[in-house]
């Protein structure tokens, strides 16, 4: 789960990481109140989970109340690459002497944590990594041993940060690592981490991705979840425990297992179609789950045909067949359904469907056959 900047900064604050004084506002008046509280000049920042908000006019400096009013009014409701701005973060403007970069994430090939620190912040780290990889000090951290202050000090030295900033940054990195680990982040990134002309260091931005698998030990995440601005269908699927990702094509996909679902997308693509979604109903799905999946897909107007691709393992194919019939009885499914059913209890499942087959409910013997049929119906 990606956090908004303001949520990231609030999360940082829990771990003692310094950020600019500021607060969130979802109206012009609230923005003015925050600005008066933190003191001018302030920066008015659109809260959207997409890059490039600065270029889109989503970040403005305001020197007085009138300017706050003006900018807050303009930015609220602004559409930035399809994301409508509903919240602002207002913070005291910072003078910047230097911009650094700091982050922690999982280093998959090494199965360790990877810290990245650079004296060249404020630009995309991918660009720095490409153009001048030596400007990034990488630190591989054994998850068992963690990061202590001594190692953090070696690291800020190696990164050649300005001397006045080193000890402050070393201490901040230890806190950021704590946030990353005990805070269960997939990513904790500060870009830029700034040094002000008076020699103090704080986070000017916050990019935090939380590991949803750790939700059980973070009741405080509930508030973040409430503000997740998601595709309505993704939201609906999530509530029903389905793993759904919306795509651009016309073939609605339902499969059991992430690998099979991905594979189904690929096969549809190979035979000339394109998928409207990824939907994994998971292992051991029953009739209810199957029916819910069909309803989610059915709410997508792009979908011209639904391809149900099941290989029964723990999931029993007879249960899947019952779910399909249940859904058909409960709601009007707008698109024809092509099914490929194999594996555990496939014979029973096919027998359940047999009496109901027609030109809107079709079975095919193999994945490839089913894909071809679905695509030809979608393109008809």
């Amino acid at each position: 789960m990606d956090l908004f900047e303001y949520q990231g900064k609030q999360y940082f604050s829990r771990f003692g990481i310094a950020v600019s004084p500021g607060d969130v506002a979802d109206t012009v008046e609230a923005a003015v109140a925050v600005a008066e509280r933190v003191g001018f000049p302030v920066v008015v920042k659109a809260q959207v989970k997409v890059g490039g908000r600065g270029k889109a006019g989503g970040v403005k400096l305001a020197n007085d109340i009138d300017e706050v009013r003006l900018h807050a009014g303009n930015i609220l409701g602004l559409d930035i690459k399809g994301h409508v701005v509903r919240r602002l973060w207002i913070e005291r403007s910072s003078d910047i002497a230097k911009e650094y970069y700091a982050s922690f994430t999982l280093d998959r090939p090494h199965k360790t944590h990877l810290g990245m620190l650079s004296a060249q912040g404020g630009v995309e780290i991918e660009v720095v990594a490409e153009e001048n990889p030596d400007a990034i000090a990488f630190l591989s951290i054994d998850p068992v041993r963690g990061l202590d202050l001594g190692s953090a000090r070696r690291w800020v030295h190696e990164a050649e940060l300005d001397e006045v900033a080193r000890e402050q940054v070393a201490e901040l990195l230890v806190k950021l690592y704590d946030c990353y680990t005990t805070g269960d982040c997939d990513l904790a990134e500060i870009n830029p981490l700034i040094l002000t002309p008076d020699g103090t260091v704080h986070a000017l931005d916050a990019k935090v991705t939380l590991d949803e698998n750790a939700s059980f030990r973070h009741p405080e995440w509930e508030e973040y979840r409430a503000t997740e601005t998601e595709d309505p269908r993704e939201k609906m699927a999530k509530e029903k425990g389905l793993n759904y990702i919306g795509l651009d094509g016309s073939v609605g996909i339902i499969a059991n297992g992430a690998g099979l679902a991905m594979s189904t997308l690929d096969v549809v693509n190979q035979v000339g179609g394109s998928a409207a979604n990824f939907l994994d109903i998971g292992g051991g799905a029953n009739a209810d789950v199957m029916a819910a999946a069909l309803e989610v897909i059915n709410s997508d107007p792009k979908v011209k045909v639904i391809f149900v691709n099941i290989f029964g393992g723990i999931t029993r194919v007879d249960e899947v067949a019952k779910g399909v019939l249940e859904a058909l009885a409960r709601v009007t499914i707008n698109a024809p359904i092509v099914l490929r059913l194999d594996g555990t209890n496939a014979v029973e499942g096919r027998a359940i469907l047999a009496p109901h087959l027609n030109d809107r409910l079709i079975t095919e013997p193999t994945m490839l056959d089913a894909a071809r049929r679905a695509v030809s119906l979608a393109n008809a």
Binding site: K111, A214, M262, Q270, G313, T344
Partner: protein
Amino acid sequence: MSIFVDENTKVIVQGLTGGQGRFHGLRNRDYGTQIVAGVTPGKGGSDVDGIAVFNSVREAVEATGATASFVVVPPKFASAAILEAAEGGITFIVSITEGIPAHDEAVTYNRLVEDYPGVRLLGPNCPGIISPGKCNIGITSGDIALPGGPVGIVSRSGTLTYQALHELSQQGIGQTTCVGIGGDPVPGTNFIDCLAAFEADPETKAVMMIGEIGGSEEERAAEWIKRNMTKPVVSYVAGVTAPPGRKMGHAGAIISGSKGTAQAKMDALAAAGVHVCLNPTEAGQKMVEIVQAL
């Protein structure tokens, strides 16, 4: 022969008294697996359908001589259970649990590597392992597997593994062992571990490898194959059409920037002499051809 587990492997089930543990544990026993004990703290002395339950792994191991453990516990308790298995003397651990926090996995993986170098963890979030006719630990349906070899299977995806087993079995082609390494970012056992074991197993004559987007394990495997593998490998990589930045169901299946794409993986495998197929069916057919020509 088979790899990692066979008819002599004695297995305990951590979480045998839970719903899932009972279901899969008994199903594995019915398949013929030597399920010799269950472990549930506080339930020692009881039994599940005749299988004795112990309070700790150590007690179970001492009483039964088990070397493998099937860990079927919720995400919250999985890391502790895995480490208890290693500490208790188990050398092969299968963790099917989905949804373990990434930081728990990272710590557990490194704790095992640093403190218990003789222990192999399979998973987490994997379907388990089946050596057909001998031993089945996990959630794979035994009836889709065919004993006798000559094919070894290693896969990051559960359903695609079943599909592969099914297609081969239907053509009368058996499997030595089928290993599901799971779709999490930090798998305890990786492709190379399995490829090396299949390469060393005289009864395995060819290997099917099923990868997916995310990470670089397929690329590393390709490099290993190029240098070490003498047996034919057929491969399929799922996710050619996956968009970057979205987790495709598995926590590990995510394309980050230009890294982890299916195309890069397929290119690396092809360059290593692997037979790269574009869908599971094609991969199955290719394997049939290869086996028939052996």
